[in-house]
Assembly symmetry: C2
Homo-oligomer: 874 residues x 2
Amino acid sequence: MTEKYVYNFNEGKKEMKELLGGKGANLAEMTKIALPVPSGFTLTTESCNRFFVEDQVIWTGLEMEINDHLKELEQSTGKKFSDMENPLLLSVRSGAAHSMPGMMDTVLNLGLNDHSVIGLAKATSNERFAYDSYRRFIQMFSDVVMEIPKIHFESILEEAKRKQGVALDKELDGNDLKEIVKKYKEVYLQETGEDFPQEPMVQLILAIKAVFASWNNPRAVFYREMHGISKLNGTAVNVQAMVFGNKGESSGTGVAFTRNPGNGEKKLFGEFLLNAQGEDVVAGVRTPNELAELKDLMPKVYQQLEIAAKNLESHYKDMQDIEFTIENGELFLLQTRNGKRTAHAAITIAVDLHEEGKITKEEALLRIDPQQLNQLLHPNFDEKAAAQATVLAKGLAASPGAASGRIYFTAEAVEAAYEKGIKSILVRQETSPEDISGMVKSEGILTARGGMTSHAAVVARGMGKCCIAGCTEMKVNEEEKIVKYKGGVLSEGDVISLDGTTGTVYLGEIEKSKPTLGGKFTKLMEWIDETKTMAVRANADTPEDAKQALEFYAEGIGLIRTEHMFFKEGRISSFRRMILAETVEERAKALNEILPMQKNDFYQIYEVMGELPVTIRLLDPPLHEFMPVKEEEIRQLAETMSLSLEELNGRINELHEVNPMLGHRGVRLGITYPEISRMQVRAIMEAALEHKSDKNSDIQPEIMIPLISDVKELSYIKAEIEDEIQKVFIEKGKSLAYHIGTMIEVPRAALTADKIAEEADFFSFGTNDLTQMGFGFSRDDSGGFISEYMNKNIFENGPFDTIDQEGIGQLVEMAVERGRITKPNFKIGICGEHGGDPASIEFFQRLGINYVSCSPFRVPIARLAAAQAAINDR
Amino acid sequence: MTEKYVYNFNEGKKEMKELLGGKGANLAEMTKIALPVPSGFTLTTESCNRFFVEDQVIWTGLEMEINDHLKELEQSTGKKFSDMENPLLLSVRSGAAHSMPGMMDTVLNLGLNDHSVIGLAKATSNERFAYDSYRRFIQMFSDVVMEIPKIHFESILEEAKRKQGVALDKELDGNDLKEIVKKYKEVYLQETGEDFPQEPMVQLILAIKAVFASWNNPRAVFYREMHGISKLNGTAVNVQAMVFGNKGESSGTGVAFTRNPGNGEKKLFGEFLLNAQGEDVVAGVRTPNELAELKDLMPKVYQQLEIAAKNLESHYKDMQDIEFTIENGELFLLQTRNGKRTAHAAITIAVDLHEEGKITKEEALLRIDPQQLNQLLHPNFDEKAAAQATVLAKGLAASPGAASGRIYFTAEAVEAAYEKGIKSILVRQETSPEDISGMVKSEGILTARGGMTSHAAVVARGMGKCCIAGCTEMKVNEEEKIVKYKGGVLSEGDVISLDGTTGTVYLGEIEKSKPTLGGKFTKLMEWIDETKTMAVRANADTPEDAKQALEFYAEGIGLIRTEHMFFKEGRISSFRRMILAETVEERAKALNEILPMQKNDFYQIYEVMGELPVTIRLLDPPLHEFMPVKEEEIRQLAETMSLSLEELNGRINELHEVNPMLGHRGVRLGITYPEISRMQVRAIMEAALEHKSDKNSDIQPEIMIPLISDVKELSYIKAEIEDEIQKVFIEKGKSLAYHIGTMIEVPRAALTADKIAEEADFFSFGTNDLTQMGFGFSRDDSGGFISEYMNKNIFENGPFDTIDQEGIGQLVEMAVERGRITKPNFKIGICGEHGGDPASIEFFQRLGINYVSCSPFRVPIARLAAAQAAINDR
């Protein structure tokens, strides 16, 4: 194989993403289908890889290939790269196989120097254009290639505008810009100790090296880690002949989506700026115009754009995000890619594309990122509460959702707040890739500048995070850490609320209400049911949770944590007295108080769920967790129990454990205090018997024993509770079917699952505890060092977020296999938080798990993930 | 198969222990080799099992078999069971396959009643004998069969002696005893509401049922649990024609050991009582005579006994414990079994038996219970200190060793003290099986009555626990909880010391010194070295530990816990400042203070160990453990660090973790603070380089990384410490070989051992943590519920005492297999506490572990266990 590192756009195609990067492959594809794409070539991802192997040097062979392709480009454009009269100018862009917002390193207008800028001014009879292009080039080159802080250049530009009394940079004239160029070059000299490079070929090589190097900048590395991307070679580099949107009012630049990325409507959607170049729209430097306005301004261009859009969508079978430039009324396409979209739009587009006959149902299902559904499922502001709240400002509804939090002005401050458990809103003039880690950890994002396709808006939508962009009414001062709005000032730490669906910014926190899900969501859910093979249940502790779960199409309850019921007002006191009882009689008395309440809890949940399966876990946490902490509460309890404060404190202290996670909890409580388990089981069965006779239902409660490590624990507790069940049956004179199963959450339980299965009717994996014990990581304490592990590349994913297939997964697999050796059709579920994680669900599908159970709000996500897993598993 | 539940003594043999019980099989064997054994028959262990199946009823078939054998017995003895003139009297004894001190239920003289006692008096012309036999029968029957408290009978006997002004019961005459019988029967009537049964067959059936029932009495159940005995059917019942040691001064009863059970000397050893019956010697009611005295009193009987002893020892190839009775100058053997012995005696006897050509070297090694070596290894009193201490009394040196503790008078009080961590001495008039659980939990046992073969002495020797018996100088009043001795009174809670080797009781606590091990011990150690295949190292943190370990034949150090070094005076302050440092500089400064101290620690240990392998584990525990707790210390530290008390408390609180066992410890510390690991490794290597050049040694330090869960953790920390090692080599201009290995103590490490082995030079299992995490049992918190598990038969053994082969063992096995798939000759050790547990060592041998490491005092035990494991594994 000859080593070929550079491809002309007409040599590639869309399937070559791994080699040419997403941008390069799509430029090649657009070239192939004869869309108006400026010529150019792509340095492959393999060349990036070799660049690092060669100690970050452009080796001779690559330089020769670049030269050859440059010559071709000169031929096809009829311009010369180093020409002083009418120079060929280039754009240099990165483009990895996966879109990576951490890596926005683009250089435009490359090739200009002090001489050719004069030639360009003459050739175009447009001095303003020429110097605007040159100052942009210097600015971008300095930023991207030389890493000179942007603020130096921005302040010069702002100063010039102030001096000229204009608001927009396009209002500056050629002379202003000439002056700016001079000042920019001074900055360059000052910062680098060298003159701005005048030799175009030197400029090009430096730019290419900068793009390559950006592959390993910390932002890009962080992004790849966050997304678990590890197998790529590097970034490709796209070198393309420039077309100019900054040649005057018949030129411009913009972004077009083939469908609305906010709601999925089948209609061209986008923004543009006249007399602007490249990044102006995306970076949100000016607030752009809606694309619809272009129809009136340049009807022919708009029509061309519409045709190209239809063409590209048919070709890619997905909604496209297109960058275009208009040079003197002529349309050029600079990039196309699958467009980012909100969850709402994703569902609408996927359903529509299938109904338009463009994609199969399976393809439609695979098109939607399950994680993104979060957007649809999280509550919106309560309408009444929002109506009464103080509106601070209105901005662009950049990413839907509702968020409240304290405001912070830097990503670092947001991260610090996050560590302390404080919910925050990131407030910025505009965001940039440096802010990504802070965006991840904020509740929502508010920017003063930038449009619907600004960095903040695009990234927030991808994350499913609430965002208001271009909120020009708010004057953000990042240095003084204040925001001025009409009528007041906010300081760091003040609480605001964002409605990302309407773009409204409110003062203070606002109550949230539940989302309503539309018709296409229902259709999607139907398709999911036709496709998936694994059931999705919800973890629900209350009738309200259960209702929510049903609304989200849960197929049962996989986990009721009965302990949550004890925290309710009015019963915690009985429960505490039960725990602290020193005699069996005292304990029995307190348990008798609790019994009717527990029974009522269960009855209500049965009422909601009908005959759907309901799994009830017996008391799990260490008893110390139920003890009062505040002195006042302790005093009250002491009074109720006729104990001195000292005595009570003594008993509470006795419950304290060094490692409560590995202490007296779960089935261990049932074995030492069988009367607690008996009370719970009595409540479960009495409620079920009543439900059965009230509703004539075939209810079959599933009783689940937590923290089993040995089959003998299960046999012991089973004997106790079956004895109680028999008593209930005899007392009531009726009976029903029930199932007694066990959590598999202790490593030893997984190892001895064959034996445990002999006594169990079902298994349910508690993957949280299994991960805690399997890794020896306390969830409460490991946050600090696990994030250190992520920083140091020791972990790619947090093991509590996505199940660790390599280690903990072995335990799960082992337990499934061994359980089914004992009982071939054994029912096995998951009720740890991994049950709502798509990557984990994919794994569980492969193991043949029967159901996952997760929080109600994650049920639709898990359902979609289960459908995708079923498709991928075929 | 015909159902046969009863065997005549002449139908059995010693190999039938499972069926006939130990006692029954040995009676049969002695009958077979024509020793003078009174005739009788054995109800099998299977009959006991069926007894429980039949709801504790003697079924007709069994009753018929008993009748048949009774008839045979009548024929062979020429007496009739229900005869009124010269009745056949029986002894009824339990006898399980394993000796079980919890089950001492024997009835003698069964068959007597108000009529036949008169006949017996006439037939023997010995009224005293007849009524003594009858009162004994009533007393034993009431106690064993009817569970009437012994105190009723004992007080009547004492009262009678007081009234007659005699000290010993044998001084009471026939009339006294007749009166006693009358009173005994009144007690019986009062306590049971029925007359004492007069029908011999009824007596027999009741007695048999009582023996059967005793199989499941709580004491026996406790004993079986404690010893992990679970597979037995039940106890056998031995019914034997009585011979009488209480027929006068030419009669007697005694116990003989074929060799000295205290020191192993090859000489008949034992005790006897004239005019006494059965249990009198064992129960320690009277202080018996030394057996040597029998030689003068009855030379012929003594010679017969010597011959029988030699005969039995040759036959059983082990030291025998023989019960005998002399009836009117005629010797009868009532029982033989392998004798319990001290560790010292066990070694002497095993070595001697091999050197006498009676057993092989392997048999000799298998003869010694490794656990028992404990006796030899624990310190004795410092001679000087003991010489200066106040001697309270002298008793029999019943079980060697040295113990100090507070005195308590009941097993319950000892157990209660134990729970509070108080060391105690159990002080009793005499012990009985009810006291076993208290004996287990005491430091030592002191009894006022009883000889070398009394209950207390036998049981204590078996446990390897210090015991002084028959200390008649001390008047124990159990009710008032005081001990009177010559010159004073002790009350509950006073501290005394026992020297079990000399029989001396001291006031107060006495300093202990190390034991010295004799010549036969050395020989045993040599044989062990020839036999075992697994190395035994010691866990040692100081040069002193290392020296102790070498004295006990350790073959290296398997674990240095470097954190223990930080607790030393003078360095804990530096270490705390290091932990609390907020800047890298502060931390570096503190580490620099610690470095020379750590280096010196390692140098000193290398000096002791020479070229033997030394494995050093890097810092393991959570940092919070090093923080001061006392206010005064905190204040001092705050001063040293120029911090306010508030600031310091704040920093200390930050280190607090909810579950420190699963928190920021082990390699996680090394990853977040690599400078700590670097300092430690520098100390290890600098010390090693100095040792190498000072001693011209080929020292090869083994550096061990704790708490690895993923190979990437190991790669990361290895890169750090190898970098530091290279720096040391460059600085010093020399180098040496070293090994970097890892603990396998996290379940996930076991599961991914193949990957971890790629980066590791060796594995060492931390089975404590592996058990904690595998079971989810915190060692600190699980004591309470694990003992509940033992009580409820859920666990047979504590998983921290003996490794759980079924579950945790799988992880160990898996890690060994997978590690050796990666590296076939991979060195693997154990350094958890299971490394010193014989049952666990047997398991590790089967897995092909290369070495175990345990505390220095367990090294000889582990060595012997390793030798036995190697033999059993052949």
